[in-house]
C-alpha cells in the first residue's frame, strides 16, 4: 500500500472509530457518577474482612489476586523474551572481561555527579522500600515499590556507568531471584488451595487493623511481588543497558 493510501485509510477509519467510541461512551453514566456495585461492596466489606485500609491492595492481592498472578507472569515472560532477543551478543562476551564502554555520556563523570547519584540512590531505596512495605496502609505496594527500587539500577547506570551497574547487579542470581519471586506467588496459591480448598484464600491469622504485617496472605504476596518486580525490572534495565556498549554491527544475512 502506498503511504498516501494508508494515510487516507487510517484517517477515514480513525474518524469512524472516534465517532463510534464517542457514541458508545455517551451511553455511560455521567462522569463522576460511578454506579457500583462492585467497588462499593468491596469498600464496605474489605476493611474488616481483610483487616486492611488500602482496598486497592486488597483487590490486587486477594479479591482479584489471580489477575495479579497473571500480571506477574507477563512480566516474567517478557523479561525472559527480552533476554532471549538481546542475549545474542551477550553470549559472545560472557567470559571476556568487560570491554571499556562508552555509554550515554562521552564525557567523564565528575565527582559531583557521582555524589549526587549516591544521594539519589539512597533516597530512592528509602522511598521504594517504604512504598513496597506499606502496601496495606498507604497507596503503593509491591509493584510500585519494586519499580521504584529497580530505578536504583537506572541511577547507578547514569551516575556510575554501565560497568558499575553490571558489576553491582549480576544477571544470573537476579534471574534466579526473579523466578523465585514469581514462582512463590503460584506456590502460595497452590498451598492455600491444599490448605483451604480455594486458590489464594487467606490461611494465615489476621492481626489487628493497622499493623504492618497483619494482613495474612496479602503481606506475603506483596513481598513476592516486590521481589519479582524489582528483579524483573533490574534485569530489563541490565539487558537494555548492555546494548549501549559500542559494538561492531553484525553483518546482514543478505
Amino acid at each position: 500500500m502506498s503511504s498516501r493510501a494508508r494515510t487516507a485509510m487510517i484517517l477515514v477509519s480513525g474518524a469512524v472509530m472516534l465517532v463510534l467510541i464517542l457514541f458508545a461512551v455517551a451511553g455511560l453514566p455521567p462522569f463522576g457518577h460511578y454506579p457500583g456495585p462492585y467497588g462499593d461492596v468491596l469498600n464496605t466489606v474489605a476493611p474488616h474482612e481483610r483487616q486492611i485500609p488500602n482496598i486497592v491492595t486488597a483487590v490486587n492481592f486477594d479479591y482479584r489476586g489471580v489477575d495479579t498472578l497473571g500480571e506477574e507472569y507477563i512480566l516474567f515472560a517478557a523479561v525472559a523474551g527480552i533476554a532471549l532477543v538481546l542475549r545474542q551478543d551477550r553470549k559472545r562476551t560472557k567470559d571476556e572481561p568487560l570491554a571499556p564502554s562508552r555509554t550515554l555520556h562521552t564525557t567523564a563523570r565528575t565527582d559531583a555527579v557521582s555524589a549526587f547519584a549516591a544521594l539519589a540512590i539512597a533516597v530512592t531505596i528509602a522511598f521504594g522500600a517504604y512504598l513496597g512495605i506499606h502496601a496495606s496502609q498507604t497507596p503503593g505496594g509491591g509493584f510500585q515499590g519494586g519499580t521504584i527500587l529497580s530505578g536504583v539500577g537506572v541511577l547507578i547506570f547514569f551516575g556510575l556507568g554501565y560497568r558499575a551497574f553490571a558489576k553491582l547487579t549480576r544477571k544470573e542470581p537476579l534471574e534466579t531471584v526473579e523466578a523465585i519471586g514469581a514462582g512463590a506467588y503460584a506456590v502460595i496459591g497452590l498451598a492455600t488451595l491444599v490448605a483451604t480448598g480455594a486458590f489464594l484464600k487467606n490461611a494465615l491469622p489476621l492481626g489487628g487493623e493497622g499493623q504492618l504485617f497483619s494482613t495474612g496472605t496479602i503481606g506475603v504476596i506483596n513481598l513476592c511481588v516486590l521481589v519479582e518486580v524489582c528483579a524483573g525490572f533490574l534485569l530489563l534495565y541490565l539487558d537494555f543497558a548492555h546494548q549501549t556498549r559500542v559494538e561492531e554491527p553484525e553483518p546482514s544475512q543478505e
Binding site: G140, T147, Y237, F240
Partner: protein, 81 residues
C-alpha cells in the same frame, strides 16, 4: 470545584500531550514528549483519586519505558558510527 478544575486541566493536557507525542516523529524528541506525557498522566490519575495508579505510572511512564527507549536509541546511534 477546585477538584474539577484540576481534572479539567489534566484531561486537556492529556489530550494535547498525547497528540504531541504522536506527531513528534523524531524519536529523540518524541521520548522527551513521552516522559512529559507520563507526568501528565500521573497528575491526571492523582486528580482522579487513584494514588496507587499514579505512582505506578510515574515509575513506568517516566523511568522504565524512557530508559529502554533511550538505551535503544543510543545503541542505534552507536551502530551507525
Amino acid at each position: 470545584m477546585t477538584e474539577q478544575v484540576v481534572q479539567g486541566i489534566a484531561l486537556a493536557m492529556t489530550a494535547v500531550v498525547a497528540t504531541v507525542v504522536v506527531l513528534a516523529r523524531e524519536p529523540k524528541r518524541q521520548i522527551f514528549c513521552f516522559m512529559l506525557y507520563g507526568l501528565v498522566l500521573t497528575l491526571l490519575f492523582a486528580a482522579l483519586q487513584a494514588p496507587d495508579v499514579a505512582l505506578s505510572e510515574l515509575a513506568v511512564g517516566s523511568i522504565a519505558i524512557p530508559f529502554a527507549v533511550l538505551a535503544t536509541l543510543v545503541r542505534i546511534e552507536n551502530g551507525r558510527r
